[in-house]
Amino acid sequence: MKVTYNWLKDFVDIKVAPGALADKLTMAGLEVTSVEERGGDFVFEIEITSNRPDWLSVAGVAREVAAITGKKLIEKSHKVTKSQNHKAEVKIEIENKKDCPLYTAKIIKNVKVGVSPEWLKKRLELVGCRSVNNVVDITNYILFETGEPLHAFDLDKLQGNAVIVRRAKHGEKITTIDAQERPLNTGILIIADERKPIAIAGVMGGRETEVTETTRNILLEAAVFNPAVVRRGRRSAGIQSESSYRFERGVDLEKVTCASSEAAGLILGLAGGDLTGARTAGLAKSKKRTVKLDLFSVNKILGANINAARMKSILKSLGFKTSGARNVFTVKVPHFRFDVNSPVDLVEEIARVHGYENIAMTLPRVKPKPRLGEQPDKVALIKDILTGLGLNEVITYSLMDKSLLREFGMYAGAEALEVLNPLSAEQEILRPALIPGVSACVARNLNQKQDYVNIFEVAKAFGLSGGVPSEELRLCIALCGTKSMLLDRGVVKDTAGFLQLKGIIETVFERLGLKAHDFRPSERPSVIDILLAQEKIGMMQKLDQPALARMDIKNKDLFVAELSLERLLFYYKPEKKFSRLPAYPGISRDISLVIKEEITAGQILETVKEEGSVLLRQARISDCYQGKQIPAGFKGLTISCLYRSDERTLTEEEIEPLHSAVFKRLYEKFGAQIR
C-alpha cells in the first residue's frame, strides 16, 4: 500500500525526515519497502500484514506514526449537513444482515461532474490511482484516506425505488466498469436495483450505472460487507480492487457514516449539488470489547522489564483505554482493532511500540530430552556412505506427470495419488516411485555432455495403503555411462552395470551390519529384487526402451535401484560383536576353473562352502575371465580358499586332500575343469 509523507502530515505533526520515519515504521511492523521522492512529496510503499486492516489508510498509518513518534493525532472534524437526515426517496433492502451488516446511501442531486482539481489528481496519482472524474476521485480519495470503500451510482440509471443487497441469482450477469461481462452465481453478493445487478458488493460497480460526465444525480454508497463473502465474490468474479482488498480484511463499521459525510462534503464542495436525503439499513454500532491484562504476564512472556506507566501510555497512544488496579488493567479495545481479542495481542502491541530492539537477548534454560539414534541420524549415515562411494545427491520434485507411469512400467494411475489443483501436467500426481524423477535427472546431465552420471536421492514415495494415502522414505540410486580413471599405468574405464549398483548397495548393507541380504532375478526382465531377511525391500533395474525413449536417452544403459529405507532401517541393528583374531596362520589356496557360462558364481561358492571342511574359513571369487584362452560358451573362474585352524598351524599335507575334495565335487557337479 502507498501513502505519502505530506498526506500523513495532514494528521500528525511529523518532525522526523522521511527516511528515518520509514525505518521507524518498519521496526514497528509496517514494513516500508521503498521511499520515493516525487513532485515535492515522498511516497512510502508499505507492506501491511493481513491482521491490520486498520492500517490500510493514511489515517491508520498516521495513528501509528503518532504513537511511535510521541505526537498527538489530529482528528478531522466533519460537517454534517442537516438535509442528511431527510429520508431519501430510495429504499434499502438487505436480504441477509450477515452478508451486509450496514448499508448507507446518500442522494446528491444536480452535481456537475468534471475534472478534479490538481491537488486531488496528484494525491491519487502518487498512491497509484488513476483520475476519472471529480465524483469518482472523491470516493477513491476517501477510501485511501480513511480505509472506507465508497461507491457512487448514477441515480437516474437505477430502475425502481429500491437498492437491494442480495445474493445473485443463477444466470444473472453484470458488466463491470472495466467493461467485462461477468457471470454471477448464488455465492456472490451483489447490489441490485429492482431489475438487475448494479454492482458486485465490495468488489466493483457496474458499467451501466457508473458516474460519467453526463451524470446529474448520484447515490453514494458506504457500507460494510462480510469479509468472507467479498472474498468469495472476488474469487469467483476473478477481479480484485482496492475496495475488495479492504472489505476482505475488515472495514470499520463505526467509521462508515463519517467517511460518507466527508465524501458528501467534498462532492458538494468540488462538484456542487444538494444533499437531498440519506438512508441507513442494518446495524449502527459494533460490539464493545474489553481485555483483562495482567502486567506481570507481559514481562514474563517478553523477558522484559517494562513498567506499568509505560505500558499504559503505549496502549493509550494506540487508541486503547485502560482502567483498573495496579497489576491488572481492563483494556477497552477500539472498534477498529478487530485483531485484538486476548491479552497476548496486547503484549505484542506493547512490545512493538516499546521496540523489539529494546528487549534483551537471553538463552533459555533448556531441559534436554535428547532423542538418540533416531531415523534422521541413520539416514545421514547412509547418505555419508553413498557420497563416500562417489555418488552425488540430487533432490527432484515429489510431483510428477501421470503419463510417465506407463513408460516406467508402473501400476496404472488408479492407485496414484492425484493432486486436486495442479498448475501443470508435471504436478498431476504424487510420485509412487523415485525412479522417474531420478532418471530424468540422469537424462539432463547426459544432455550436458556428462560421460558418467552417478547419483542418488533420499525422498518420500507416495501411494495408497488400505485406501489411505501413505508415504515411505526411499533410496534411489542411478548409474549411467563410463567413468575414466587415470591411474599411474594409464586410463582405466569403469562402465556402469548391475554389479556396480550391487556393490554400492552391498556396501551400505555391510556398513549397517545387515548381513542377510540377497539379490535375485525377478520375473520381470532386466529386474533384480533386493532382499533383506527374505523380505523384498527393493529392486534394481536396467531401464527398458520405452522409459529410455521418454527420457530421450540414446545409446546408453541406465541402471537404477530403488529401495525402502524404512524397511531397511527396520532390520538395522547397530550392535557389533568382536571376533577373536586368529591365533594361528591360515593357508590360502586358489582353484582356477573353466566352467560353462551359465553356471553362476553363487552356485560354485555355495558348493565350495558345502564341501569344504570346518577348516575352510573363507571362499571368495578372486578372478573371472572370458576370452581367447577359454572356449566359447565357457568362462574362467578363480576361487580363493582360506584354511585355518584355531588350535594349531595347519600343514600343506593336511590341506591337500581337503582342497582336492572341493575340486572333485565341483568337477562332479558342474563338470568343472582345472584351468
Partner: protein
C-alpha cells in the same frame, strides 16, 4: 695409516659431493677394490698379532661409517632430484590418484548445518509426513479457514480426500509433537513443503524449510532473540547483525520477522538486499495460546517460541546462487561446487 685422520678426511670430503657421479667417485675411492679400505685391510696381516684384532675392529667401524655416509648422501641427492627433475621417477605435478568423493546436495548441507547448530543447543531433530491434514496444517495453528492469512499458505490438495493436503509449511509438526508429548520440549524439524506457485527464479512449488520450537514453563521472547542470535552467528559469522521486526503470523503472538545485515554489502545497501542493507531470513514468535489450546496444553503454565526458515533462501544467500531452479535441475556441474 691413521684411521682417525681418514675419518676427518671423509667427513670433509663428503660435503663437497653433490652429484651421483661425485658420490660414485667417492665410493670407489674408499670402498673400491683398490680403495682406502682395501688398503687398510691389506695392512692387517702385516701387523703384530696382538694389534691385529683391535685394528681390524677399527677398520670395520670405519667401513660401517662410510656405508652410512654414502647411504645418507644417496637419500639427499635423490630427494633433490624429485624437486628439480621430471621424467624419471615420479612427476608429482601429475593429478593425484584417488576415488572421487560424491557430494551431498547443497540443500542437504545447509539443512544439516542448521540442524547440527540447534542439536548442540539441545533441540532434537523430528520429521513429519508431507501429506497432512487440514487441521494440522491450518486449524490447529490458528489459521482460520476463510481468512486472507490463508492466501500466504496457498496449498495443494489431494483429489481423493479434500481434507488432505501437501503441507505448505513445516509448522504442522509442532501440532504433532505437542499432541504426543508434554513439555519441556525443544525440536528442530527439517523437511519438504509445497505451495502452488508458478516456478521462476525465486519461486518453486516444492521447497525446504526448517522449523524449530521450544516449550517450557518460562520460555520468553528474549530467549527467542538469544537463540536465533546464536544461530545467525553460527551460520553467517560472528560479525553479522540481526534485527527483529514485528510481523504477523497466525500461530505466533508476538510475532517477528528476523533480518540479518546484508552479507553482500555488509549493510550498506545493494541489489541483493534491495538497497535496504537487511536480508529477511526467517519468521518467528511466541507460540499463540490458541495453538496450545488445540493441543491441550495449559496456556497459563506454558509458553514457547517457534521459528521457521526457507532453506533455499538461506542457501542462495550463503552461496550467492541467483536462481532457485538450479537446486532441482541437479546439474552435476552445479552439485559438485558444494
Amino acid at each position: 695409516m691413521d684411521i682417525e685422520a681418514i675419518k676427518t678426511q671423509i667427513e670433509s670430503e663428503i660435503q663437497g659431493v653433490n652429484s651421483p657421479q661425485g658420490l660414485e667417485e667417492f665410493r670407489v675411492k674408499y670402498m673400491g677394490r683398490k680403495g682406502v679400505l682395501a688398503q687398510l685391510t691389506g695392512v692387517i696381516p702385516t701387523l703384530p698379532v696382538q694389534e691385529r684384532a683391535s685394528f681390524g675392529q677399527q677398520v670395520n667401524a670405519l667401513k660401517e661409517k662410510i656405508l652410512l655416509i654414502i647411504k645418507e648422501k644417496q637419500g639427499s641427492l635423490s630427494g633433490e632430484k624429485l624437486m628439480t627433475q621430471k621424467g624419471s621417477g615420479c612427476d608429482i605435478t601429475m593429478p593425484g590418484i584417488a576415488r572421487e568423493l560424491g557430494r551431498l546436495h547443497p540443500i542437504s548441507q545447509v539443512m544439516d548445518e542448521i540442524c547440527t547448530i540447534f542439536s548442540r543447543m539441545g533441540f532434537s531433530i523430528v520429521e513429519g509426513p508431507e501429506i497432512e491434514t487440514e487441521f494440522n496444517n491450518f486449524t490447529g495453528l490458528n489459521i482460520p479457514l476463510d481468512h486472507p492469512s490463508r492466501d500466504a499458505f496457498d496449498t495443494f490438495y489431494l483429489k481423493s480426500n479434500s481434507k488432505l493436503l501437501l503441507r505448505s509449511h513445516t509448522s504442522p509438526v509442532q501440532i504433532r509433537v505437542m499432541k504426543s508429548e508434554k513439555p519441556p520440549l525443544a525440536a528442530i524439524v527439517p523437511g519438504k513443503v509445497y505451495r502452488p506457485d508458478a516456478t521462476d527464479a525465486s519461486h518453486s512449488f516444492m521447497f525446504h524449510q526448517v522449523e524449530g520450537f521450544m516449550v517450557d514453563e518460562e520460555i520468553t521472547f528474549s530467549d527467542l532473540k538469544g537463540t536465533l542470535g546464536l544461530f545467525a552467528k553460527a551460520v553467517f559469522g560472528k560479525d553479522i547483525k540481526m534485527r527483529f521486526r514485528p510481523h504477523f503470523f497466525p500461530f505466533t503472538e508476538p510475532s517477528a520477522e528476523v533480518d540479518i545485515s546484508c552479507i553482500i554489502c555488509k549493510g550498506k545497501g545493494c541489489s541483493v538486499c534491495g538497497r535496504k542493507g537487511w536480508l529477511e531470513i526467517l519468521g518467528s514468535g511466541m507460540i499463540h495460546p490458541n495453538v496450545f489450546k488445540h493441543v491441550g496444553y495449559d496456556t497459563k503454565k506454558y509458553s514457547g517460541f517457534a521459528f521457521g526458515m526457507g532453506i533455499e533462501r538461506i542457501a542462495m544467500l550463503k552461496y550467492g546462487i541467483d536462481d532457485i531452479r538450479l537446486f532441482f535441475e541437479n546439474d552435476l556441474r552445479f552439485l559438485k561446487q558444494f
